[in-house]
Amino acid sequence: MGTKRFTGAGLPIPALVALLIICIFTSTQSTQFLTLENFKAIADQAAITLIIACGLTFVILMGSIDLSIQGVIAASAMSTSLLIANDRTDFNMGFGVFGIGIGIGALIGLLAGLAVTVIRIPSFIVTIATWNFGLGIGYILFGSGSQPGIQDKKFIGLGIDTFFGLTKIVWIAVGIAALSFIIQRYTIFGRYAYVIGGSEETALLSGINVKRFRVLAFIFSGATSGLAGTLLASKMGIGAVNSGEGLLFLTISSVVIGGTLLNGGRGGILHSIIGVLIMTTIYIAMILLGVSSFFQNIVQGLVVLIVVVIASWKQRKPLRTVL
């Protein structure tokens, strides 16, 4: 019965219910939960994850995966911090660093996409490689010098200055989410993502250029991770190679709990938005409840495991070989 709601771009009802339950539970346990400040904190925390999740969603819809998030962020954050006004180099690109961050991400995504479609290597292997590739770039950029501290006030202000109550980073995230939803609903790329994930064979038979769209998905995913890297540099005020630490699991568990199936073809941006809200709420709730931060990983891993197991149970067939 739940499958009816997991369709095309339908509403992720089970996820919404889960979110509601978590909110109710936490508000009974902690008085701080239902405060405006807390909601702002959730929004702040969720923003970066949401941006990455939007890119990741299209890749997953097509049946692939992108594990390179933290690597792309490393490369993007480091180059951003070194190219905008900082205390280590003389560059001052100002907000042009957005172009750099997004560009680096898109380039890494392009490499991954080509390796998957042309060389035919499974995406989970390719993106582990590009993950390390991005980290490597980050380390090389970091070099043996000191950690670059960003000095551009306006840039750092993105995470502090508010606009109608929410930080600019949050608004950027909202914008990306809206853009992604429009892409999903009103572009061929968005529609075909579901087709390719649903049945690549049918897509090919219908004359769809699957390779091209898959590469595009990886480029978009890389670009969003790149954007996230630039924004993280702003948030943290420094260039750190491990800026993206923990984001891979957080994002994947968000997409998965939102209801987008890992085999592809079902789910979407709306699902991922709710998924991000759920995982972020859990994250904040755990902090409010005094749970050690080490447990975050375990919780996220369990979320992925449980959600994926439940979703796959419904789709299982006898004599089917799953690799």
């Binding site: 097509m62 049946g63 692939s64 995966i65 594990l67 390796a115 998957v116 479609t117 060389i119 035919r120 290597i121 499974p122 995406s123 989970f124 292997i125 390719v126 582990i128 490689a129 590009t130 390390n132 590739f133 980290l135 490597g136 380390y139 090389i140 690549e200 064979e201 898959r214 190679v241 699991f249 994947i252 568990s253 890992l262 085999n263 592809g264 050690s292 080490f294 447990f295 975050q296 990983n297 375990i298 919780v299 996220q300 891993g301 369990l302 992925v304 495991l305 994926v308 197991v309 796959s312 149970w313 789709q315 299982r316 067939k317 004599l319 089917r320 070989t321 799953v322 690799l323």
Partner: protein, 321 residues
């Protein structure tokens, strides 16, 4: 005999026999000997073999899984977790901890296989989730600090002594892995493991108990990981949450470079041994070139992609996502 489709018949023949990786190894060693002979001195090789012994076990664990057409992304992280648990239990319970840990590892391996098969969830997803859970558990257990193993329990140090020129640890690993390789190549069980990698459905239709064959392979893999973590504790004398994490990429690289196909069926432990040696020699080379530890994974990534690209058999992978 297995056929490999490849336009260049000579190389195909070599690969079929598993010799091509041996040739690569010889070439690499040759280059190193030419450029910097002292890097290949007995003492430096000996010290490299300590780490190689751990890589050998982890790569072999991965090899079994890959031959079945699956993957274990939690391989190295689980080793980290077990290293931590080993260190802690050695401090508290002494040697008894080790067999208990192996049983625990076997259980985890079975659980992975069970979830994968019963719920039909892809192995990379299951192992990814286990990776997260394992790394979280390791963090909790260590509270993000380093654990020191008490000196009087550093029994495994003896494993790293070298009565001859080769450390015992390496010979032990080779021995264990050799048994596994023999089982894989020469027993009906090993043939079933490879057949599942070629064609699981046909294997089921021939009466193979795919559930138990696959589960046993996963359990063997985690046992190897447990042994590796024991060696790891002995080698380092300490344990921290992500201590063995960096073995994942070189492990996969060793398997793939050795000549085991990522699609399953083709390959073996023997080839993985050559692969491990290649990776180890490569390490020497990278250190020589002053490639920092942080950047070495990039090289492994490139190697993995190149190795798969050169050996991918188009007829077997039709749809790749």
């Amino acid at each position: 005999m297995m056929e490999i489709k490849n336009p260049n018949h000579f190389f195909a023949f070599l690969r079929q026999k598993g010799i091509s990786s041996l040739i690569v190894l010889i070439v690499l060693v040759g280059i190193l000997l030419l450029v910097k002979p002292e890097s290949m001195s007995l003492s430096s090789i000996s010290s490299l073999m300590d780490q190689a012994s751990i890589l050998l076990l982890l790569a072999s664990a991965q090899c079994i899984i890959i031959i079945m057409g699956r993957i274990d992304l939690a391989n190295a992280t689980f080793c980290s977790l077990l290293t931590v648990i080993t260190a802690l239990s050695l401090n508290s319970f002494g040697f008894l901890a080790i067999p208990v840990l192996i049983v625990f590892a076997i259980f985890v391996g079975f659980l992975q296989s069970w979830l994968h098969q019963i719920f039909q969830v892809p192995s990379f997803v299951i192992s990814l989730a286990f990776l997260g859970i394992a790394s979280g558990c390791a963090l909790v257990l260590t509270s993000a600090s380093t654990i020191l193993v008490k000196p009087n329990v550093r029994f495994t140090k003896v494993l790293f002594s070298s009565p001859g020129d080769i450390p015992i640890s390496f010979m032990l690993s080779l021995f264990i892995v050799g048994i596994l390789g023999f089982l894989l190549a020469k027993t009906p069980w090993g043939r079933a493991v490879r057949a599942i990698g070629f064609n699981q459905r046909a294997s089921t239709y021939s009466g193979i108990n795919t559930f138990w064959v696959m589960s046993s392979a996963f359990m063997v893999a985690t046992t190897l990981i447990a042994i590796a973590s024991t060696l790891n504790v002995g080698y380092l004398g300490t344990a921290s949450a992500s201590i063995a994490d960096s073995y994942l990429l070189p492990g996969i690289a060793a398997v793939v470079v050795g000549g085991t196909s990522i699609a399953g069926g083709i390959g073996g432990i023997g080839r993985t041994v050559w692969g491990v040696l290649i990776i180890s020699v490569l390490r020497i080379g990278m250190d020589l070139l002053h490639i920092s530890q942080n950047v070495q994974p990039v090289v492994y990534g490139i190697i993995i992609i190149l190795a798969i690209a050169l050996t991918v058999d188009r007829s077997r992978v039709s749809i790749v996502a």
